[in-house]
């Protein structure tokens, strides 16, 4: 009994030690952001002097070349449609695949695997040429379409699996009453699928928000740059303002963090479903 108790304490101690190591970098960033630079140079864990300042945040928000207020707005302009569009399109596709007999499982899966195995860099050049041909270079629509294309395969597969858990007889009744396929889909299926959609949306949104590479190849006008693209710009050439960078980092990570905290349950379900089913 005694041994069990000791083991239990060891377990709890290990767990919190890992937690401490994991959270320390975030604490560091936070401290660097809210304290003046000269205090940081002695180490942010040094509390002999402590002056609170929010100057870094206001500087990051109104930065002359890389304003994060603008960046956050731009990122939202991209991330919201880049979540809604693929979700709508892929939910439809997932439904189609699950309801109309089609040897689809293997095929869709192989298509997903191709996207999984495909390095994003590999398609960078042809995608840029495509955008060029469509006149979409440096326009958000182009980036939104690319994000949609990366999201569609896995969301389709995810939703397909979700739909196969919804019994088909719910729709049969409506069908017999003469409702069209699309009517059945939007009136009956879509509302039932909302939990699955919430999971997929949480994941897709955070991925789009955190993306750097796809934005890099498709958006480059200074005023159009997204939040993640602005962080490297804040790094001066000769002098690195760590406080400013830290404040910027916090402003950028606060959005996906909020999504995660609010939709944690859906998020976790999505992640597990995404990787294993």
């Amino acid at each position: 009994m005694m041994k069990r108790k000791i083991l239990r304490y060891i377990r709890i101690a290990t767990m919190w030690l890992v937690a401490l190591i994991w959270i320390l970098p975030f604490v560091g960033v936070f401290m660097t952001a809210i304290r003046p630079m000269e205090e940081i140079l002695d180490g942010w864990w040094n509390f002999e002097k402590f002056n609170l300042t929010f100057e870094n945040f206001s500087k990051a928000l109104t930065h002359p070349t890389a304003s994060l207020a603008q960046g956050t707005k731009n990122s939202l302009i991209v991330a919201i449609p880049a979540t809604v569009i693929p979700l709508l399109i892929a939910t439809m596709a997932g439904y189609g695949f699950s309801r109309y007999k089609f040897p689809s499982k293997k095929l869709t899966f192989i298509l997903i695997i191709i996207t999984l195995a495909l390095p994003q860099q590999m398609i960078a050049v042809p995608v840029f040429q495509l955008l060029n041909a469509f006149g979409l270079v440096d326009r958000y629509l182009g980036l939104i379409l690319i994000h949609s294309a990366w999201g569609i395969p896995w969301i389709t597969f995810f939703m397909r699996n979700f739909f196969s858990t919804i019994p088909a007889n719910i729709e049969e009744a409506a069908r017999i009453d003469g409702a069209s396929d699309f009517l059945v889909f939007f009136r009956i299926i879509f509302p039932l699928a909302l939990p699955g959609i919430a999971s997929a949306a949480a994941l897709q949104f955070t991925w789009v928000w955190s993306d750097f590479f796809l934005a890099l190849i498709s958006v480059y006008s200074p005023e159009k740059l997204l939040a993640t693209q602005r962080i490297p710009l804040m790094r001066g050439v000769y002098h690195v303002d760590w406080g400013l960078l830290a404040a910027g980092a916090i402003l950028v990570l606060v959005v996906p963090l909020t999504v995660y905290v609010i939709l944690q349950k859906q998020y976790v379900k999505g992640m597990v479903g995404w990787s294993l089913k």
């Binding site: 970098p25 439809m92 109309y100 695997i113 590999m122 398609i123 379409l145 389709t156 963090l257 990787s275």
Partner: protein, 299 residues
């Protein structure tokens, strides 16, 4: 039953269209490009398999195999540490310890932030002068261990691997935990009733029943390890310094395709050849993944 293509098509057409245009076409085009020499603006010159020969046996073979070796090393290290640590933590969490949710959230935090921020956070932590890591070592009297972690060829690659573990272990904990929670509780009750120790329960029940999860995760890790790019890019740049000690196929591709300071070649065809080679190595395992998941869903 007959396949109802007529009814299916309107549902899948938009998805198919976007997917074909922005994924499949660029993908096929890369294959095509790998047989040409092209600097991006001039004319494409057909060179046959010269790009592949250059990479595997010619001028670039040293860089190619150096990078490939690092990819393999990264895969092995990540398998041991991310999967291993993921399993251990998930097992600890499975026993309803107080604060489990808080812990899980903390461990998962690095996974939801952008790689750009991961790069910034760790370049701050690892700053040779005032970064926490070196300061800490000096404080506890291990100052001789303090070093420019990312600037020393002996430690740079392992440092990158550590940052990767920090970023991803939460994901493995989450998936493993889900697999453990799926195990019917009666099995544990029966085992404890028979007087089994915790240790035995872990090795005789939890481990064997999570093997399928391990299998799929290893394959995913393999795919990710061969496609790894952004963590190296964020911490060391495309030059994968110091002295290419952190070079991986992803950064090699970037340098050959788009050039970069100090890199002579900017040949999109050559870059495409690297990408095709990466893809060729990854695809057999990816198909295995299909097979594994397929088998799992049948049960």
């Amino acid at each position: 039953m007959r396949v109802k293509y007529r009814k299916l098509l309107p549902f899948i057409l938009p998805a198919l269209l976007i997917y074909m245009t922005f994924i499949i076409y660029p993908f096929a085009y890369s294959f095509f490009l790998s047989f040409f020499s092209w600097n991006g603006v001039g004319e494409k010159i057909f060179v046959g398999i010269k790009n592949f020969k250059e990479m595997l046996f010619g001028n670039y073979s040293k860089e190619f195999f150096n990078a490939l070796g690092h990819n393999i090393y990264i895969f092995i290290m990540l398998t041991i540490f991310e999967l291993g640590l993921g399993f251990v933590i998930a097992t600890l969490l499975a026993t309803n310890i107080k604060g489990r949710r808080v812990f899980q959230t903390i461990a998962y935090l690095p996974n939801i932030i952008s790689m750009v921020l991961v790069g910034f956070i760790w370049s701050m932590m690892l700053n040779p002068q005032w970064g926490l890591i070196n300061q800490f070592l000096r404080t506890i009297g291990l100052g001789f261990l303090a070093k420019p972690w990312l600037g020393d060829p002996n430690t740079a690659l392992n440092t990158i691997i550590f940052v990767n573990i920090w970023r991803n272990v939460g994901f493995y904990v989450l998936v493993m935990l889900a697999a453990i929670i799926d195990i019917p509780p009666e099995l544990f009750e029966a085992a404890y009733m028979d007087g089994a120790s915790n240790w035995k329960v872990v090795w005789r029940i939890i481990f064997p029943l999570t093997v399928p999860t391990f299998q799929t995760l290893v394959v995913l890790l393999f795919i990710w390890s061969f496609n790894i790019f952004d963590v190296v890019y964020a911490l060391e740049g495309v030059q994968a310094g110091p002295f290419r000690s952190t070079d991986v196929l992803g950064t090699l591709f970037y340098r050959t395709a788009f050039g970069g300071l100090g890199s002579a070649a900017t040949d999109l065809g050559l870059g495409a050849a690297v990408a095709v080679l990466i893809f060729m190595m990854v695809i057999p395992l990816s198909l295995l993944y299909v097979f594994l998941v397929e088998r799992r869903s049948k049960r």
